[in-house]
């Protein structure tokens, strides 16, 4: 029995550890290539340590590509979309979890049903709608819909609110606190872990978004980082900017990695939360 366990642990270490190292290799390639000269990336054998070591890629990229504009657009979308989705989802999640009113369960099931809805089904009418109000090539189509709650986040938050003991809320109610106060001063702070999880997931989603920006933003000055990188990588400039591509790739990955290390516990919690079923 003991021996069997030791063997299986060794095997585990080998596969999980070895495989994990392999999973990291693309990061190493990305970072290493971002310091290479354009004509030193597609060579065999690949150089691990770039020669020449071009740290200036990171400076030049700013003049070659409107990185600042892309970053600014991406940040605006990420910040304001997340703000909207978190507030509207927290409020709705609380109502679905704690308040009893007619129609609540019907609406909640309708909301859950939309999780199965592929984006392509609604893409054209939504595009038409936003073009009617003149929002194509603005950031609004990527921001405004988030102020109307997100079905999955509402679901997660509702599950979490339901685990908070009723007594805490009742005590405040007896003291005469109204619903908004109960929600924002008592329940929301108690639901902090879930709110952080939702915030992280929203930031990730917005930062990585590709299809929706592609649909709504055709003007270069409105592009997000993802669109900018995409255009480089489809060689739309007609120049060999592979090294700048790699730099932009690093720009997109680094904030995500930093966020992971800052909030590792919440990430792991989020995974456990999102894995559970209704």
């Amino acid at each position: 029995m003991r021996r069997q366990q030791t063997i299986s642990k060794l095997l585990g270490l080998l596969i999980v550890g070895g495989g994990g190292l392999i999973m990291l290799l693309p990061f190493v390639w990305l970072i290493s290539s971002s310091f290479k000269a354009a004509n030193k990336i597609y060579v065999f054998p690949p150089q691990l340590i770039p020669d020449p070591f071009r740290w200036q890629n990171y400076v030049e990229v700013f003049t070659a590509v409107p990185v600042l504009t892309y970053t600014q657009n991406t940040l605006i979308v990420t910040v304001f979309a997340t703000l909207g989705t978190v507030i509207s989802s927290v409020v709705a999640g609380y109502a679905f979890a704690r308040l009893r009113f007619k129609g609540r369960d019907t609406i909640f099931s309708l909301l859950l049903a939309t999780l199965m809805l592929p984006y392509v089904v609604i893409m054209i009418p939504v595009y038409v709608m936003f073009s009617k109000v003149g929002w194509i090539n603005t950031l609004y189509p990527l921001i405004i819909p988030n102020y109307f709650g997100d079905a999955f986040f509402i679901f997660l938050l509702r599950q979490f609110f339901r685990t908070i003991p009723m007594e805490l809320e009742d005590a405040a109610r007896i003291d005469g606190a109204g619903r908004p106060r109960v929600l924002f001063q008592i329940m929301a702070p108690l639901a902090r872990p879930a709110i952080i999880v939702v915030t992280i997931q929203s930031i990730l989603g917005e930062w990585n978004a590709f299809m929706q920006p592609l649909i709504f933003l055709t003007k270069r000055s409105m592009w997000t980082l993802a669109l900018g990188l995409n255009s480089l990588q489809r060689f739309e400039t007609g120049r060999d900017w592979t090294h700048y591509m790699m730099v932009l790739g690093v720009f997109m990955v680094i904030p995500v990695v930093i966020m992971y290390f800052l909030a590792q516990r919440e990430f792991i919690q989020g995974i456990a939360l999102s894995g559970m079923k209704a």
Binding site: P26, F44, L99, P118, I122, F148, I154, M252
Partner: protein, 309 residues
């Protein structure tokens, strides 16, 4: 109707605030979900280039689908991908989760190594993999050459394009692995203790305890993965869509994924009625598949009865 005890009666105060709190979500549901769903159903029976109003043409779009060789191709591409990706990703992710669930030293490091790639934006991962899978220069070919094989044209040979996309997507399987890990860790140790008393070996414990006790999470992951596989877009668009929408999506249209073809019809060829019909056809298949999967669930998914609800 029986009179409810006072604490169960609906109060005006709760109804008022309940609706006040969900009103944004309800509006969103109407404005950005059900409204557009109905609109696209209507568009699917019309000819619509957005500039001029939609013209009703009945079932023409749906009839056109069957004769559209590209449509059939896009189904074939998507199905090939799904059939390859779903079992591979679920099985590998489960095995990794299982191996991680042992008390390994340095587990948080491994968790991080497996999970990080799933956070990488599609565009960034496409950039890296385009290079890594280059038949001449890509490092993926190292082990192949060492074994005496020639590198295939990963991204240029029509037969290798789907496997390449699967490979790229598998890079992000850490998320599923950690979901499985959490589920496996959540199985109460008392079951294993009881089984050990009866002399069960590792395989028996896995087959009769771990697997059934995590089957609900496997089921959930299966459904989510099926739905996501049907909607692959980013990788295909970024790596294979070429400069214009008249270029084939990869050599021989080998990367013409269903959503990519729908997207081209809508925003490339301005055939929005046709694209809506395509989208609805897929939606119906997803609904049907989900329904069938839910029907089979009684046979293989185990839900613990006890719990708060």
């Amino acid at each position: 109707m029986t009179k409810l005890p006072f604490y169960k009666r609906l109060s005006f105060e709760e109804t008022f605030w309940g609706w006040a709190f969900i009103i944004p979500a309800v509006l969103g549901l109407i404005l950005f979900r059900f409204g557009p769903v109905l609109a696209s159903l209507y568009f699917s029976f019309t000819k619509y280039d957005i500039l001029s109003p939609p013209q009703w043409i009945g079932l023409t779009n749906y009839r056109g689908l069957v004769n559209d060789t590209y449509w059939l191709k896009s189904i074939q591409v998507t199905l090939n991908y799904t059939i390859l990706f779903i079992p591979l990703s679920l099985i590998v992710a489960y095995i990794i989760g299982l191996l991680m669930s042992q008390e390994l030293r340095g587990i948080s490091l491994y968790r991080t190594m497996w999970y990080l790639p799933s956070l990488v934006p599609t565009v960034a991962s496409a950039v890296v993999w385009r290079w890594a899978l280059n038949p001449e220069f890509g490092p993926v070919n190292y082990p192949l050459r060492a074994l005496g094989y020639d590198a295939p044209g990963w991204l240029t040979d029509p037969d290798w394009i789907i496997p390449s996309v699967v490979l790229i997507q598998l890079w992000g399987l850490g998320n599923a692995a950690l979901i499985f890990l959490a589920a496996i860790k959540g199985v109460s140790p008392t079951y294993y203790e009881a089984a050990e008393v009866d002399g069960a070996n590792a395989w028996v414990k896995f087959w009769w305890i771990t697997l059934p006790m995590t089957s609900s999470v496997i089921f959930f992951q299966l459904i989510m993965t099926v739905i996501a596989s049907f909607q692959v877009f980013g990788v295909a668009y970024i790596l294979f869509s070429g400069q214009t929408t008249s270029d084939p999506a990869g050599p021989g249209n080998a990367a013409l994924f269903y959503v990519l073809y729908t997207f081209r019809n809508a925003f490339g060829y301005f055939k929005n009625g046709y694209a809506s019909a395509m989208a609805w056809a897929m939606f119906l298949v997803i609904l049907l598949l989900t329904f069938i999967l839910f029907r089979t669930q009684k046979r293989w998914v185990y839900y613990e009865v006890e719990g708060e609800e």
